[in-house]
Amino acid sequence: MTSAGIPYEHAVEAWRAAAPAPPRSLDVPAADVLAAHHPDHQAHGTTTLRVGANAGDRCPSVLADLLESASLVDDVDIAGTAVADTDVVVVGGGGAGCAAALTAADQGARVLVLNKLRLGDSNTVMAEGGIQAAVAPEDSLQRHFADTVRAGHLAGSRDLVAAMVHDGPDVIRWLIQLGVTFDTVAGDAGEVLMARGRAGGTTVPRILSCRDHTGLEIMRSLREAVALHPGIVVRDHAPVVELLTDTHGRCTGAVVVDLVSNAVQLVRANAVLLTTGGAGRLYVGSFPSSNHYGATADGLVLAYRAGARLVDVDSFQYHPTGLAWPSALVGQLITEAARGAGALLVNGHGERFVDEVAPRDVVAAAMLREMADGRAVERDGQVGLLLDVPSLVADQPEILTDRLVTLAKLAARAGVDPTAEPLMVRPTLHYQNGGVVIDEHGATGVAGLWCAGEVAGGIHGRNRVMGNALLDILAFGRRAGRAAAHAAGERIRRPVGLHHLQQWQRGLVDAGLPLDRRAPLLFPPESNVTPDDVMARCR
């Protein structure tokens, strides 16, 4: 995929001679670079889905293998297993899950949150740069809406984008009420204004932040609020491995594996809410990933098998600045806020090659082009581009202590002095653009099943702007939590079974697909644990 680049020592000399390098935008149209170099546009490593609601759609093979797989459980596993009842079950306590749980519980629902790892061990806690909301006088909801739709190549649902954008300012108020702090600046008249950074591909600075550990700040408070809420029960190390359905195909609960006691358990609920996050740990296209350990597409697999439709499953976000060296840290994220503040990308010749604040997909594709054409930098077998942090620091001496604190820590771990030496970066698999089709309330096509957060799709189209994921998970987490609590108000006890699996199994057989390939994956490929291993512990 990548041809070797210019040796690091030469590249650093070239960088030093030119720094700060003069602007140079793409020499060809962005659409051409995307077509030639963005992984979404390459047929290699993809396949056509053969079963389920998206049969006929293109999908990366690593994901298709999971979507078109057999269940980890059958009727024998669940026969005679005790059933626990709750109103709302939330699967995955990241940001979306916690927002949904708090909202549902505030409406009076009894909520159970099931976590594969622990509450809050998620992509949310790792988020760095910030969250979008149109609060500035020169900004508007309409402008945020247009920026989001445009960045997504017009592929997102306008109704979903409008719902998310509309909720923006209210989400920020809600976070502040929960004790989440944001950076502020003083206005001309001494008034308190929210500090704002600029996201690539947008028309106005709209990123609200808490330094460059916004996700940590948000997750700490959400987790504590959930843990202290009397209406919410939290269970850690309890991944969901299958959904429960009644004879009408309605989702009525979930099958849980308790990794502490090694037992299969059933939960019956009036509303099931999937907030399992993304799929970065599938390493689509063999890219490194910025994601947490549990990002293995479990929710996509569960919802798809139950009959839900997915959208844009072939579209992923490759964040331009994952670390490319040293090898132990490859894939670790450097926030886009660094480029937003002025950090430049240069190739092995010390030249810039793209507008650093162009949309993420364009910047990533331009970097992959430099790597493919031999203009990248090579160090100890790793290939990447240079991120000119020293010139940024020369220009804004306080930036590493005031704003980019996570970047400074990561540089220290890499053994790089960011005031003197550029960091080596390369695109890293960051975000699942698509996901389960939802409406404005997080409802899926499957009765009884709601989705919110990265597992859901249709909002960001085929490219997401920085800061819109955190807004998305909180806006739709709250919306889905409210809707699920409302539905749970009926308090009807429905039968639980694995009714959806009969038809699913038949579909696999008809399509000639193997029945011994089981999913969800639960733990990533490097975990040394297969889903079958997990189930074997319980038998």
Binding site: R118, D121, V125, P137, L141, T181, A328
Partner: protein
Amino acid sequence: MRIEIDGRKITAADGTTLLGAWLAAGHPLVDHVGCMGQGVCGACRVLVRRAGQDEATTELACVTRAEDGLQAAFLDDTTPHRAHPYHLDPTHDSWDAHGRVTEVFPEAPSCRHCDGCNNACPVDLEVHEGVVAAVAGDLVAAAGRFEDCVMCDLCTTACPEHIAPNHLGLFLRRMTTSLSLRPDDLLRRLHEIERGHMTIDVHASVEERG
């Protein structure tokens, strides 16, 4: 280099983290892991003893690098059994913020200044100083000490007075923010939206950029 994790002898490559070495050696990993490399979730707590060192330290296995002769053991996560419940009520009398600290964390004034929390903290926060400042009523300064806290709960485990320092710190951060942060631009925008003065036209034309 040779290291030992949970009693298993492992040959680790230069530069790898403890979790990386554990996985590369083929051992299964389903807990004691979360963000996997960023050091922000606090799941991978380990007790570490380096060659030639008498004292053990507590660290995060996803960021600590392997060193020849290093021994490590995973520390199970335990939920603190003395909860300090509170509800951030927006109508609460903020003039009484200092009083609320000891109301919710009654053990805090009994701090015996043993530095157990500081020694336990894997991200080297001045936890003890935060507790002392909180008791003295220096709330904003105290909250600031916990800015980089990853909520690993090691200080809570270490504290002989059951003060739960990190939960105290988070309480202070949350309370001071929720009672005092009122950005003018946000207030204005919410007002506009709630009065129906700012809406979205979903049919407006949006041009794709070239």
